[in-house]
Symmetry: C2
Subunit: 147 residues, 2 copies
């Protein structure tokens, strides 16, 4: 089933994705969608994506970038990652996975969901459901090198 649906082209079929999410394929959404989904998994902040769009010659306001990121998140095309109270990251990898977070540079790296196992979790308190389990491995750059 669904043989190579997402593999057919190196491109993201952003148009289709937007349609399926019930979002009008506007110039801005298409451009941002392509920046986000063409080529590998990405972790972006609103500011960063905005700058990237500008640099690519796409004129989008910062407000629209925020709107779009949130709409994409609701549509499950993105996932929010909370690792730093100063900024919000959006992750194009929406599968079950975790993160390395390099505190020096503020960069994120995915850790495959089925590489890690979390065992011994107490059951969730009465009346609550587990929505998600996040594992964040915080890293510090180790400037010193054993020469």
């Amino acid at each position: 089933m669904m043989s190579s649906v997402t593999q057919d082209r190196p491109y993201s079929q952003t148009l289709t994705r937007l349609r399926e999410a019930g979002l009008r394929p506007t110039r801005q959404r298409l451009a941002l969608g392509r920046l986000l989904f063409d080529g590998g998994d990405r972790h972006v902040t609103a500011e960063a994506l905005h700058e990237e769009a500008q640099a690519a010659g796409v004129s989008v306001s910062l407000a629209t970038v925020y709107n779009t990121l949130h709409q994409f998140t609701e549509a499950q095309l993105l996932r929010e990652v909370v690792v730093d109270s100063a900024r919000t990251y959006f992750d194009t990898n929406v599968s079950d996975h975790h993160h390395f977070f390099l505190e020096n540079s503020g960069s994120l790296m995915d850790i495959d969901g089925d590489k890690i196992a979390v065992t011994g979790l107490p059951q969730a308190p009465e009346g609550t459901d587990v929505a998600r389990v996040d594992v964040i491995v915080r890293l510090h750059g180790a400037p010193r090198q054993a020469s």
Copy 2:
């Protein structure tokens, strides 16, 4: 060794702790320290602690609450918990442990560090050290109850 040093009284020896941390025991720091350390583990935000202090008749500015929380954190009397990009939580439990986070109410609950095991972690990228591994179990209130 250190038999019951931290158990002798239900009180926090805040004065001693401040001295050891090289922080002058000012009226404000003592009051905040007592609110934080007398009685069980706590998770507070700056705003919340500020209100609590006011309610307790302690006059402290919000700026001082922020300063104090950061100084306590540097002194290892507190630990920052990042779970919500909108606010910063400070945890009086500085031992190795993890958290349940109730997204509805914004409340945190500790999960003992030795109850949980995280296995299969890939090794940290070249040139980096693991500073900490955080496990956050995000919960949603389940209003519906099987009657």
